[in-house]
Amino acid sequence: MVNGYSGQILRVNLSDKSCTPEPIDGVKARKFIGGAGYGAEILYSELKAGIDPLGPENKLVFATSPLTCNVVAGGGSITVCFKSPLTGVWGESRCGSNFGPDLRRAGYDIVIIEGKSEAPVYLAIVNGKARLEDAQNLVGKDVYEKTDLIEAAEAINGKKPTVMSIGQAGEKLVLFASIMARDRAAGRSGGGAVMGSKNLLAISVSGTANPNHAHAEGFGTATREAIRTVKNSEMRDGFNKFGTIGDMPANDEDGDWPTQNWRSNSWGKGAALFDEFQEDYLVKAKGCYSGCPIGCARVCEVKGGKYKTPVHEGGEYESISAFTSFLLNQNMDTAVYCDYLCNKWGLDTISSGAMIAFAMECYENGILTEKDIDGIDLTWGNSEVLPVMLEKIAFRQGIGDILADGVRKAARKLGDGAEKFAIHVKGLEGPAHDPRSGKVLGIAYGTANRGMCHIHPLEGMAFDRGKMHWGMLAHGARDPETVDRWDEKGKGADCALLQRALVLPDILTTCKFMSYAGLDPEHWAQMLAESTGWDIDAEELLQVGERVINIQRLFNMREGLGRKDDMLHERVLSVPEFGTYQDETECVIHEYEAMLDEYYESCGWNVETGMPGKVKLQELGLEEYLLKSELT
């Protein structure tokens, strides 16, 4: 038994319907902790290179950490890891909700899903006991319907379980389908399609156990101090009062708002759209799990008309940007409605908006004609077609069947130069932040193991533009106040160092915004030490971060990736075609390859191949994984 952990991994083999508890490995726990760390170790060790992500050989790992507790700031989270069907490489996605803490109360730190069920099922875990239930009645139902039905079926003495499920998009194997905890999403990388491929429609958890923290009193003191730090943070007020969408006006102004499929990094509409959302759509703020000290989630609705929605959680910056600036759509009704549809059908909002933007540009350039798209007018800004296109994607109807495979595969299928309009890294569509606003983000996009991601592990623009350092000045980071956002020299090294800190919430399965609101590596180390009884400090924790980035990198290298796959799309490296920065050559990354060299050198990786070096792997205690790998 390892203190702080529930102590058990649940291995569910859908092929033979077995549910087998296994003990948490104490050595691996110390080396990889949990979340995207322990999950990476499992997938690297148990998956063979080259497997089909939608085949029974792929595995889904739902992972927590000792800090997955409602009393920990940001502890209401779960991380899902898998080989991504969208990218063919490392896939992970975090979801805020009570699912993570409830899984631990049910007696498990990690659930490994493997094999494939012959018929649709859902998994129910109640106080250490797991069973697979027939789910034929859930087939074709949306996320809300599935959740309601399972909550009713699995309630104990009126107490509902917490449910994560896929929508129709997951059942249809849309490669960017999400796994939903009602309105909250493990959205990126296509975990929903992996779940759908296994005929697993949902997981329900409930329990009453409490993890055994090594120093209960010290843990209580450390967690209360962390909550106090967050609550006293002015950043907390910003997140709570305005949500992530509060960044929209300034991102637009600063060139951090990809517009019209990345033709520009600004649009000039951000302030007006933000005001409109605040005044006409926002209902209230809330936390995405019980006990959140920030509460950045937005409860919103379209109050009437053709696009009326129920009151729901939505209106995140990324989602609204995906359905406005990506598409030149100024109609907020349709943006909020499309966000809601993505929740309902289980689609990643970012990839969904990006796919429609890609389709609009293909239409503009004659690669897609009205005949190809059932007479739909895919002119930029045509808001009417957005829900129609979403439905086609979610249910793989017509052109939606091609778009449902993500921008990289869709471009290959369409041909005719469509790849010019397919903005991605490693197959993951770009989100709503633009490296033409600050150069660290460019390297972060290129090197993030799951692809073109703004937040796993590092939001580079928060350093370059927001002047945030997340407590890393004490660990060698440059003071961002002394750094010009458009400088290139030093940014590769900045990125490498900061990634080690910002990957920690992914490993600890905590919300990253707690780090923005004042929790530094010392806070995380203190809470972890009190929970586990380990003599662990911030330096060791940062080394865990580096170790996890490296094992995920090894996972990708084993799949054949290398330096060539860390490049950015030419359009992202070009002067914007219009907007505030159209004459601003300084905003463009001029020497991306040199920044990448610097990044690799800072990581201890081979500059030519991008392969982690043997010395670095030995330093991180990963040499055995190199030997296990199929690399030569």
Binding site: E234, M235, D237, G238, F239, K241, F242, G243, T244, I245, G246, D247, M248, P249, A250, D252, E253, D254, G270, A271, F274, D275, C296, E316, Y317, E318, I455, E459, M461, A462, R465, G466, K467, M468, E481, K512, F513, Y516
Partner: protein, 92 residues
Amino acid sequence: MKIILKINSTMKRYFPAAEFHLKLENDATLSDLYKELGFVAGADISSAVWNHKKNRPRGPVFMRSEAKVLKDENHPLFDGQILELKRFLVGG
């Protein structure tokens, strides 16, 4: 009364000056300060952080003084007070 308004580092690019010396009535409040700032510099402040119609900050922009955020617009100001306008949020 006279007050000094300083624009915090990340906010400077949105304002025409990094510091404003403003004259207000003796019983002025935060609301009066916003009104005066709008009059003096409003047109030159970026709409990214300033709502020109309402003469108020837009989004997560807060006024700080003496290490505290002033949340109430009726908060009374005092002669010689130094205030700082700061933006809180870059993420998501």
